[in-house]
């Protein structure tokens, strides 16, 4: 029972971190249909910027955070303006490949500026774990979960009530119609990239405070976005529900199965088996939009 509780709590909190990266991915997918392969690079670069502000420059925590967020906004705008916008109306796969090129660039940039390539952030949260009955959970995970819930709330409200958010949703459905209403689609794209950069910056800071700043952040980004397929790529609620489900599945599944099958590392493959199963059963995820085909 204690183990069950431990697995569940770990699963939910870790899942929330996946969900956080998933949110950033969904933001861009939702408004422009582009799969952002540069997500890992963004997570990496913002984590390093935060490290630079906090440790190398020595700014206080809140100020470093603000600087990173402002830089994230600027990055988002630049990326959209100079990489994505020239490709509007080109085949979607070319757009996706551009983000691939961007990924290489960002990885190189991180090495260029921070050649040490591995570093640890000072602990952002108290290191003493919280005790929940017989189980324990680190405060860092709890805070990460809370922050992703807050972000999810803000984004949902923004997309539901704010003019720009509504326009973004509309853009996903029909770009021409939105343009016809007098809303410049380009500004919607750049807003979505700016927001996505902010979310990935926050995700990056949280993850690197847990597992350090390494090149591995790139792959964490890649892994997490494939994990949120369960929720449906274009759905925020999907991300926030599916993240914990995946987290639970990998922890509970691995917790029970490892002693039975005797193979280590089940945790790392279970999410992907779930993805395949989900695609067989419910192709567009739990909350993804199912398109009705017409001819």
């Amino acid at each position: 029972m204690a183990e069950f509780l431990q697995y569940s709590i770990t699963g939910v909190t870790v899942g929330m971190i996946y969900a956080l990266i998933g949110l950033s991915f969904a933001l861009i997918w939702k408004s422009s249909g582009v799969a952002n392969l540069a997500l890992g690079g963004l997570v990496l670069i913002f984590s390093w910027i935060f490290y630079a502000m906090l440790v190398q420059v020595g700014l206080p925590l809140w100020l470093s955070l603000i600087v990173v967020l402002i830089l994230a906004l600027a990055f988002g705008w630049l990326i959209e303006r100079f990489c994505l916008r020239p490709l509007i109306a080109q085949p979607i796969l070319s757009l996706i490949t551009v983000t691939l090129g961007l990924e290489f660039f960002l990885e190189g940039l991180a090495v260029f500026i921070w050649p040490e390539m591995v570093a640890g952030l000072p602990p952002l949260f108290p290191i003493e774990p919280l005790k929940i009955g017989p189980a324990v959970v680190s405060q860092a995970y709890v805070w990460a979960a809370v922050i992703s819930l807050i972000l999810f709330g803000i984004l949902t409200l923004y997309f539901r009530y704010h003019k720009m958010g509504i326009a973004m949703r509309a853009t996903a459905d029909d770009q021409l119609a939105v343009q016809a209403c007098g809303i410049p689609v380009t500004s919607i794209f750049s807003t979505s990239w700016m927001l996505a950069c902010v979310v990935s910056a926050i995700a990056g800071i949280l993850i690197s405070s847990i597992s350090g700043l390494t090149h591995g952040l790139v792959e964490t980004g890649l892994k997490a976005f494939s994990v949120v397929i369960l929720g449906g790529l274009d759905s925020f609620i999907g991300c926030i529900v599916a993240g914990p489900i995946i987290g639970l599945a990998e922890n509970l599944g691995s917790g029970w199965l490892t002693p039975i099958v005797g193979w280590g590392g089940l945790k790392d493959v279970i999410p992907f088996i779930i993805i395949i199963v989900v695609l067989f059963i419910k192709p567009y995820g739990l909350f993804g939009e199912v398109r009705i085909e017409r001819i």
Partner: protein
Amino acid sequence: MGLPCGTYNYSYAKDMAILRTKTHWALFIALLILVFTAPLYCDNYLLGVANLMGITLIAAVGLNILLGYCGQLSIGHAGFIAVGAYTAAVLTGTFELPFLVGLICAGLMAGLVGLFFGIPSLKVKGFYLGIATIAAQFIIIWFINHLSITGGFTGIAVPYASIGGFVFDTEASQFYLIMTIAVLCVFFAKNLARTRIGRAFVAIRDNDLAAEVMGINLFYYKLLAFFIGCFLAGIAGSLLAHWIGFMNAEQFSISESILYIGMVIIGGMGSALGPILGVIFIRLLQQGMMFIAPMLESAFPALPAGFASGIAPMLFGVVIVLFLVLEPRGLSHRWMLFKASYRLWPFSY
């Protein structure tokens, strides 16, 4: 695309031929001669790069059939290459079967695994399918790492390729082997693309609903595309295994898969020329990167530490981004435009 002025076709066979004028034939034969005499004037290193390109080309041709012709996104191509590589490694290394048996089995095995992971394509399209194939890659690599027959994490040694007692133990002999198979694969793929199956693939890519109503069995042809694409990946994997001589699952990373997509897109999807150009472009660019860090370090010893290590991937990324911004339809499209303007020259209106 038209023919040079004054060239007419007098039969359908002639109209449908790939090489249609004497100049075509001459250029084609000259190219083949150039390629197959390369060992005479290139050193082992260049032959090695050519071998790597040949192997990559086979896999890229497979991905082009899958993605370029049939429109099915696969971001797990390196995983399917791994299936082929390990099948060949186990069959020829552990069970000491002949190379050709290993080669065919590698293709079939990768094809079958591809078939299985292609099943979601019947229900999902685009990036959803892409994610299914990412999952496929992780699952494949996980299994390779945890099976004992594949050598687990340690990896597995692979003997030289050999056919009937002849051992391909020099770079040049491997070059002939790899190039022959690569040329055959390109030829098969080109033929496939211009006949019944290829048209069915493109029909599915361009309009799967209409294709189905016009009598094309989506189930069969999507899976066939997965089978053929992964079959070629398996063949490439087998050759890669014999060429490197040692397989380790870490070689087949997800970024390798993504790079394969980059190759196909940069070359130009859905054309026979596309993968060739894309593979040459990316692989040469990568080889060029290999020299950048040493050059910078020796030319400017006082550079900051991250310069040499950071500049290469940055340049690589910038070249890809700029390239796509300026030529989003790929190199083969640019080549077509060039050919067209050259044919019409000097009356290019």
